[in-house]
């Protein structure tokens, strides 16, 4: 069969195709481009064994999806990322988005919060409430979720360096609302390793940071079993300039590092692996992106099963949240981004994601306006309800090209992971700056291609118009609201039982020096209105700070 097709294809190439001129094409998978054939045929995927390699949705290796009925059973969660200025304003935006059909909350924090500074610290004043919401004490968190019952929504927090503190605050709000921890659902990003490489909001060195992460995983496993304590992220590497292969490989190597750290505490893989979640972004090469999700599901299922001897299929599920990648949005002719975002959203859905965020088309500039944020949500709703793409599971499965790409990506990632694992363990590679340099190398090459026009970006390096960009509405934080936030933090600090806060911080410090799980201590401290900065300073005293290797 295979030989017969190959023979016929060779004849076709010689007799028919040779008469037609055509351009060459490359897959953008990695720094080294891969040739894409002009036509894929059954013989291109002859080595794939359907039952074993592709199989059925809801069963390992989950190539076609992690749930049996996928979007026929339940749509993905439309989870629009938002948060700006103060808790009051963000609370209002959350409620607006929920009213419009947003299915889960996703909180963006300002940089001071992410880096462990309180809003009343004069050193960071200009950054308060700028790129997300300012949260300094439990009081702010209470306001952020006012009127939002925590057993009825799930909330995703893009927070890393201080993820354990935010988790403690969220649970404390639940307690105040009378919601048991066992009914609280959501995710903290809590993936510190990628921060050292791509996103930058690290505070402590990798090893104590890993301990904090294992503490949250262990604590959630026992106390808040509906909460996902980590979202292991490949997407931030990609947004920072990494290749598709690097996005998957770095994420998986970090995932392996976290899993090994939890196992070292004597916890069985099947006890916690079902609570791990993952994060990718989508870019514009539609089929490569779709194949990436399929390949990652298959490869991860194999790694969890073979390397970590998991028995529970739920441990092997690659449950993935994805977002359209801000890196491919342009400032030039910003409305073009609406089309780009539609394609990236389509890639996520056809890739079988569990939740998706469609950014606003003006995100390349600033915090989205209400109108642009709504357009992101509407993009998902139109695809979900008007196009019929949800009518069958993994509609592209079986396409010669998609299956070839899926296997190609799986193999390339596997090879790259092996190569990196030979060079050292992930934590050491990050401490040495090796991963950072691997990524910077690709980012530089990609930027050069974009600037030279070799990589076409419509409206930017090809088909430019003189269309003004001044038209953009840019979000400006309301300085009055920020002043109120600063005043509130000062007031909370003046009115709380300061002796109790000091006592809690002392106990936290003692526990940090030992090996106990820190979550109960963090919970106790935030409930006494101990602030983010006070907690971070206490932990910094024990853990120290990370210094980035010189480039």
């Amino acid at each position: 069969m295979k030989e017969k097709i190959t023979k016929k294809k060779d004849r076709w190439r010689e007799k028919c195709l040779s008469q037609a001129p055509y351009r060459s094409a490359k897959a953008e998978l990695s720094g080294v481009d891969v040739d894409v054939d002009i036509l894929y045929t059954p013989d291109s995927i002859a080595s794939i064994d359907y039952p074993q390699d592709i199989g059925f949705p809801g069963e390992p290796p989950f190539t076609r999806g992690i749930y049996p009925s996928m979007y026929r059973g339940r749509l993905w969660t439309m989870r629009q990322y938002s948060g700006f200025a103060t808790a009051e304003e963000s609370n209002k935006r959350f409620k607006f988005l929920m009213d419009q059909g947003n299915m889960g909350l996703s909180v963006a924090f300002d940089l001071p919060t992410q880096m462990g500074f309180d809003s009343d610290n004069p050193e960071i004043e200009e950054e308060v409430g700028r790129v997300g919401v300012a949260i300094s004490t439990l009081k702010d968190m209470e306001i952020l979720f006012e009127g939002i019952p925590l057993h009825k929504v799930t909330t995703s927090f893009t927070i890393n360096g201080i993820a354990s503190i935010i988790l403690a605050m969220y649970l404390a709000v639940a307690e105040k609302q009378g919601v048991p921890f066992t009914e609280v659902g959501g995710t903290i990003q809590n993936d510190i390793l990628k921060e050292y490489v791509a996103r930058g909001t690290y505070i402590f060195p990798p090893r104590p940071s890993l301990r904090l992460i294992v503490d949250t995983i262990e604590y959630c496993m026992k106390e808040a079993p509906r909460f996902y304590p980590i979202s292991i992220s490949g997407g931030h590497f990609r947004s920072g300039g990494a290749s598709l292969i690097q996005e998957v490989a770095f994420m998986m190597l970090n995932g392996i590092t976290y899993i090994e750290a939890v196992l070292a505490r004597g916890i069985d893989i099947d006890e916690f692996a079902p609570r791990l979640s993952y994060l990718f972004v989508t870019q514009l090469n539609l089929f490569e992106e779709i194949a990436k999700f399929r390949a990652s599901r298959r490869l991860w299922a194999h790694i969890i099963k073979e390397r970590f001897k998991a028995k529970d299929p739920r441990s092997m599920m690659f449950r993935v949240y994805a977002a359209g990648c801000g890196d491919v949005l342009t400032h030039a002719e910003p409305e073009n981004n609406i089309v780009r975002l539609t394609m990236m959203t389509l890639a996520g859905i056809l890739g079988g994601v569990q939740s998706f965020f469609t950014p606003a088309y003006d995100e390349a500039y600033e915090i989205p306006t209400e109108k642009s944020a709504l357009l992101g949500l509407r993009t998902q709703q139109i695809l979900a309800y008007e196009t019929g793409i949800t009518n069958t599971v993994d509609p592209l499965g079986g396409s010669y090209y998609i299956e070839w790409l899926t296997s190609k990506i799986e193999n390339e990632v596997r090879k790259y992971m092996e190569e990196l694992e030979k060079k050292g363990r992930m934590v050491e590679l990050i401490e040495r700056g090796f991963i950072q340099n691997e990524m910077a190398r690709i980012a530089y090459e990609k930027t050069k291609k974009k600037l030279s026009g070799e990589k076409v970006v419509v409206g930017l390096n090809k088909f430019q118009s003189a269309q003004a960009r001044e038209k953009l509405q840019i979000y400006q934080p309301d300085r009055e609201a920020i002043s109120k936030q600063i005043a509130r933090v000062k007031r909370v600090k003046a009115e709380r039982d300061n002796e109790k806060v000091h006592y809690c911080l002392k106990r936290l410090e003692g526990a940090a020096k030992g090996t106990e799980n820190l979550m109960p201590y963090l919970l106790e401290t935030v409930k006494a209105y101990g602030s983010v900065e006070e907690i971070v300073n206490t932990l910094r005293g024990v853990f120290g700070e990370f210094r980035e290797p010189v480039m």
Partner: protein, 132 residues
């Protein structure tokens, strides 16, 4: 002294503020090295004081700031002021990152010599430095 005769020129690339997006800073640093300049990249979260001190100690010819979090006006104003107070007001400052078009002139009024928003060609940046 005619600075144009002193080659290669020393450039400080710095990221002030809390923003951790360093791709642009690193890419520009690499491009300038490829163009034959000597580049000092000081890493994330440098305070205005640290940047000014490094600029003076390393005797740099240009300071390039990379800011993507929207606080370019505030941070740049503080940096230019500090430079002048430290007697180094002659060092030209360039700003790169996410800069809304409406802010370009405002930055120049503050005393910035060049503004390079995301997507600026390396050639434009290199030409700018050569012509200072």
């Amino acid at each position: 002294m005619d600075n144009k005769e002193r080659l290669p020129r020393r450039i400080l690339i710095a990221k002030p503020g809390l923003d951790g997006h360093d791709r642009g800073a690193k890419v520009v640093a690499t491009a300038l090295r490829d163009a034959g300049f000597e580049v000092i990249y000081t890493g994330l979260r440098q305070t205005v004081d640290q940047i000014v001190n490094t600029a003076i100690q390393e005797d740099v010819d240009v300071i390039g700031l990379s800011i993507l979090s929207g606080v370019h006006m505030e941070l740049t104003k503080r940096l230019v002021k500090k430079l002048r107070e430290s007697g180094a007001g002659n060092i030209p400052v360039a700003v790169g990152g996410v800069i809304p078009p409406g802010d370009v002139e405002k930055l120049k009024e503050v005393g910035v010599a060049g503004v390079f928003s995301v997507g600026t060609s390396f050639k434009k940046i290199v030409d700018f430095i050569r012509n200072i």
